[in-house]
């Protein structure tokens, strides 16, 4: 009865609004819709809000990047004309502060927060994309659901060699919409209600909500810092798992462990010994390893990226996830993949065919062509997978040097294109920065730095589970996969900052 009354009310209210709409062409964005039954699915509980987003209803003033052509002003409503809004490029992280991006664009800021390159992909990759667009027009149509054949074939042969494994392009490879899409497909395929998923902190923030959406329970284990000598800069390799603690996290309900090496945000490259520890526990407890290896080419200082799937006994229980976006500095192509045994991949294929079914064809063709290039140049100086880490290493070292000049203490990463910098000195010297009641220090620091020093970064505490954030609120994450001009602009800001430091 109540439901019918509510429905009738809505019907009438709708009619009234339509009538009003006829006169003024406006519709209230916040009209109430009181469905008697629960509206959104329960699987969205706890993962629906971006805790850092602006309040609903408030406009997001952001930088104009791609304004529509002029004639749009004649064709569209006043609201669209007046909105003048186009968005700055967002980073695909769950907790990316929309607010930080907004601030970064409002103030004159060098943005070292956004985690993607501000330089173009290599020429051969751009050409590969252009070729995909201008050759066979049938590339504008659907391809094979589980991956464009030339791409799955090259991925199979390229990674088969690296993993020391016979990889079948049809059974052991799935192409996805970015590595993000591969992660989602894996969680949906394999994590069930009540399953536990071990996540190593600090973690790329999507792992937690993806676990929750699949009905799973995230179990966190933190990389702990071994103390360094005074005066020495910290290294990401000093951040380690306590074997006993890690072992204690495995229970009979543990379904999967998520490994990210090289790690975002820390830049840690897990050593063989560390991987063997994880591997032995996974085997002992019969657990699947979801290995996020998107930064696999970005390793420095003689460190080696090791895929855990190549360790004995691990291929059959590991999903190895990779990214064309990170490999070829083309994050906007959104092409990723999952490699693994058929008995795991078949379940990912089931999810894939019931979620998006196909990935865009041309991006896949471009990636296939790009991998052909890399296969031909593998291990040589001309390989992008050699050149990119060399170039990014220089950027890393540049940033490490520069940040120290103002008292930031970077933790040297062995891999990825991120580093975190210790801001403890600032925390002790200026503990009372403005911010919300419960806001962690690193978040207040970042805001202060944007407003006053013209540099943007990301608070590291967002890469931690809620209860642990307060223990890690003295780090901020910087991204160094940036053009030389960006790093020079960073230097200018830091030089000014240095002059403003109290003696």
């Amino acid at each position: 009865m109540f439901r019918n009354v509510a429905a009738i009310y809505l019907h009438l209210a709708g009619l009234l609004q339509r009538k009003k709409a006829g006169t003024s062409l406006t519709r209230c964005l916040h009209q109430t819709f009181a469905m008697a039954k629960r509206l959104q699915a329960r699987r969205l509980d706890g993962i629906d809000h971006n805790p850092w987003a602006l309040e609903p209803g408030s406009p997001v003033p952001v930088t104009v990047k791609h304004a529509p052509p002029d004639f749009a002003s004649q064709l569209c409503s006043q609201q669209l004309r007046d909105s003048g809004q186009v968005t700055s490029l967002f980073e695909p992280q769950q907790f990316q502060r929309v607010e930080f991006s907004r601030m970064a664009s409002e103030y004159d800021v060098v943005n070292l927060g956004q985690g993607f390159p501000d330089f173009p992909p290599p020429d051969f990759a751009v050409q590969a994309f252009q070729l995909a667009l201008s050759s066979d027009f049938m590339l504008n149509q659907y391809t094979k659901a589980f991956g464009y054949p030339p791409l799955t074939e090259i991925l199979a042969s390229f990674f088969g060699k690296l993993l020391g494994q016979e990889i079948d392009p049809l059974k052991n490879v799935l192409v996805t919409v970015g590595a993000y899409g591969a992660l989602f497909t894996a969680f949906q395929a394999l994590v069930d209600e009540g399953d536990e998923v071990i996540i190593i902190e600090p973690f790329f923030d999507c792992y937690e909500p993806m676990t929750l959406m699949a009905g799973g329970r995230p179990v966190f284990v933190t990389l702990k810092l071994s103390p360094t000598q005074d005066g020495e800069l910290d290294s990401a390799s000093n951040w380690q798992l306590d074997p006993t603690e890690l072992a204690s996290k495995f229970t009979s309900r543990t379904k999967a462990l998520v490994l990210n090496t090289p790690n975002n945000p820390l830049g840690k490259v897990f050593s063989e010994a560390e991987l063997e520890l994880v591997a032995s526990l996974c085997q002992q407890h019969d657990v699947i390893c979801i290995s996020d290896e998107v930064y696999q080419w970005l390793v420095y200082d003689g460190h080696q990226h090791i895929s855990i799937a190549s360790l004995p006994g691990m291929w059959e229980r590991t999903l190895t996830i990779g990214s064309a976006g990170k490999s070829f500095s083309a994050t906007g192509w959104k092409v990723g993949w999952a490699l693994g045994p058929d008995r795991l991949l078949k379940h990912l294929r089931t999810v894939h065919q019931n979620t998006i079914y196909h990935c865009p064809t041309q991006g896949q063709a471009a990636v296939a062509q790009s991998f052909q290039h890399e296969q031909a140049h593998f291990g040589q100086a001309s390989s992008y997978f050699v050149q990119l880490p060399e170039a990014v290493l220089r950027s890393r070292d540049h940033m490490v040097r520069s940040l120290q000049s103002v008292g930031l203490r970077p933790v040297i990463p062995q891999g990825s294109y991120f580093l975190i910098a210790d801001i403890s000195d600032f925390k002790s010297k200026m503990p009372d920065l403005p911010g919300d009641a419960e806001e962690p220090y690193d978040s207040r620091f970042v805001k202060w730095m944007i407003r006053n020093k013209g540099l943007a970064a990301i608070p590291a505490s967002i890469f931690y589970s809620m209860p642990h954030r307060k223990h890690f609120d003295h780090y901020v994450r910087f991204c160094f996969v940036k053009d030389e001009s960006t790093l020079q602009a960073m230097d200018e800001k830091l030089q000014r900052w240095k002059t403003e430091l109290r003696p």
């Binding site: 569209c76 008995r343 991006g363």
Partner: protein
């Protein structure tokens, strides 16, 4: 107590160890191959089979004239290809864009659809760009349908609706479109209708949504105002949502008009309307689609998006936006692709109707979409050599036709649920968004077939 526990623990792990070795020894398998609680999540149980995987493989033989999968073999409009090719050269468009939709694209979509909704559409809050319309369906169902909910699906249905509803833990409730051919009159998709009382009986307190597809795949039905009003009234009365799959919205033929149920009174607030770049611009491989609706619904689709793919490919979205601006500028012009494509396809439709009739079939003339279905039992084909007698008639027929006539199609019972496959098992679906040479080849096959029959 502690010692006892420890002993139990070690006994337990030893037992587990022995159990693993012992059972693997029995089966002669290496220890590592056993065990593995590599069990799939329950949500995908029973959803692994897929008609397309089977039939596209069958039609992949280049000597087969493929009128099966709904994939255009005509070229997309030149300006669409040109836009994309220019965009690849712009650096910033190779990096991530806004997760819920590239700004210039959502603006173009808002501008276009405002004309139909007679209301402003907020590009950031009322539009979501997804990986194809398929992705919009997934986001809508995952965002709004819960375990234990019921969702009404009209049969025959685009085959993903059922597994997506099941994957969300909900129960699909089916209702068939019904018709009989009328002597002396050409059978039309508009002859296929829902019985209003039967439809009303499908709604109950658990019904969360109804999925509407207009123009309809596979029949080609374009729902009339009256038919949509019946559905709208039931949605409002029963407080349910409507997921309206309108991917073929531009493909309506003379005498028909595509209507958006979301524009009916009381419906905007409870409807998600889904569109497709692939079907709009004949670029199915771009895999871009969109959902349009009120923010209180769209926000839940956006939540699914930020936890699944996060963002769609940038260069494709920008190219699509630019293609849209070209056609938005000339909506009344016959050159506008939204006008020229249906004109082009109507000719192909009529040709297909004629061809199928010449073979002695009674095709159902579609009012929209780019598919046509026909009852093939009239051909009385000899399917005795097709093994696997468990399969419905149309599966066997399509396999036989692909093998013996080198012409492929899709069995319509693939668009039905298990229990009702028999209702549509005599029907086969042909796709006609094909270039003339493909239709010429089909015509040759059919002419030879006719000669063989006589």
């Amino acid at each position: 107590m502690f010692l006892a526990q420890r002993r139990l623990c070690s006994l337990d792990s030893r037992a587990k160890f022995l159990k693993t070795i012992y059972s693997s020894k029995i089966l002669g398998l290496p220890a590592s191959a056993m065990s593995l609680k590599i069990t799939n999540a329950k949500r995908i149980e029973g959803l692994d089979s897929n008609v397309w995987v089977e039939f596209t493989k069958l039609a992949a033989d280049p000597s087969v004239v493929n009128l099966g999968q709904g994939l255009p073999d005509i070229s997309p409009p030149v300006y669409v290809k040109e836009k994309l090719s220019k965009i690849a050269a712009i650096d910033s468009l190779n990096q991530y864009t806004r997760g819920f939709g590239h700004p210039s694209l959502v603006k173009a979509l808002a501008c276009l659809y405002e004309k139909f909704y007679q209301n402003q559409i907020n590009p950031n809050k009322e539009i979501l760009v997804t990986v194809g319309a398929y992705g919009s369906l997934f986001n809508a169902i995952q965002g709004l349908i819960d375990k234990g909910d019921e969702v009404i699906i009209i049969m025959p249905f685009y085959d993903c609706y059922e597994p997506m509803v099941r994957m969300a833990g909900a129960t699909p409730v089916f209702i068939p479109l019904r018709s009989k051919p009328v002597d002396g009159k050409r059978w039309s998709s508009s002859d296929w209708t829902l019985d209003p009382q039967e439809l009303a009986s499908k709604f109950n307190s658990k019904t969360k949504a109804i999925i509407l597809n207009t123009p309809h795949n596979p029949i080609g039905k374009v729902y009339t105002k009256e038919e949509l009003q019946v559905i709208a009234d039931l949605c409002i009365k029963n407080d349910t949502l409507c997921i309206s799959d309108e991917v073929y919205e531009w493909l309506v033929y003379t005498g028909n008009k595509h209507l958006k149920i979301a524009t009916f009174p009381g419906m905007w607030e409870r409807t998600i309307t889904i569109g497709s770049a692939g079907k709009t611009f004949s670029v199915t491989g771009w895999k871009l689609g969109w959902s349009i609706g009120p923010n209180h619904l769209i926000k839940h689709l956006q939540t699914v998006q930020q936890n699944s793919v996060y963002t769609c490919a940038t260069p494709l979205q920008e190219a699509l936006a630019q293609a849209f601006w070209i056609d938005i500028k000339r909506m009344d012009d016959p050159e506008c692709y939204f006008n020229s494509l249906p004109k082009e396809l109507e000719v192909k439709r009529d040709r297909m109707v004629h061809l199928l009739e010449s073979l002695g079939l009674k095709p159902i003339v579609p009012d929209g979409g780019y598919f046509i279905i026909a009852d093939v039992s009239l051909l009385d084909a000899d399917l005795s050599d097709m093994k696997d007698s468990n399969e419905p008639y149309d599966y066997k027929f399509v396999k036989w036709m692909t093998k013996n006539k080198k012409l492929s199609a899709i069995p319509v019972s693939a668009f039905c649920n298990e229990e009702t496959k028999l209702q549509f098992e005599k029907f086969v679906r042909f796709c006609f968004i094909k270039k003339d040479s493909t239709l010429d080849a089909a015509e040759e096959i059919i002419k030879a077939w006719i000669r063989q029959k006589s």
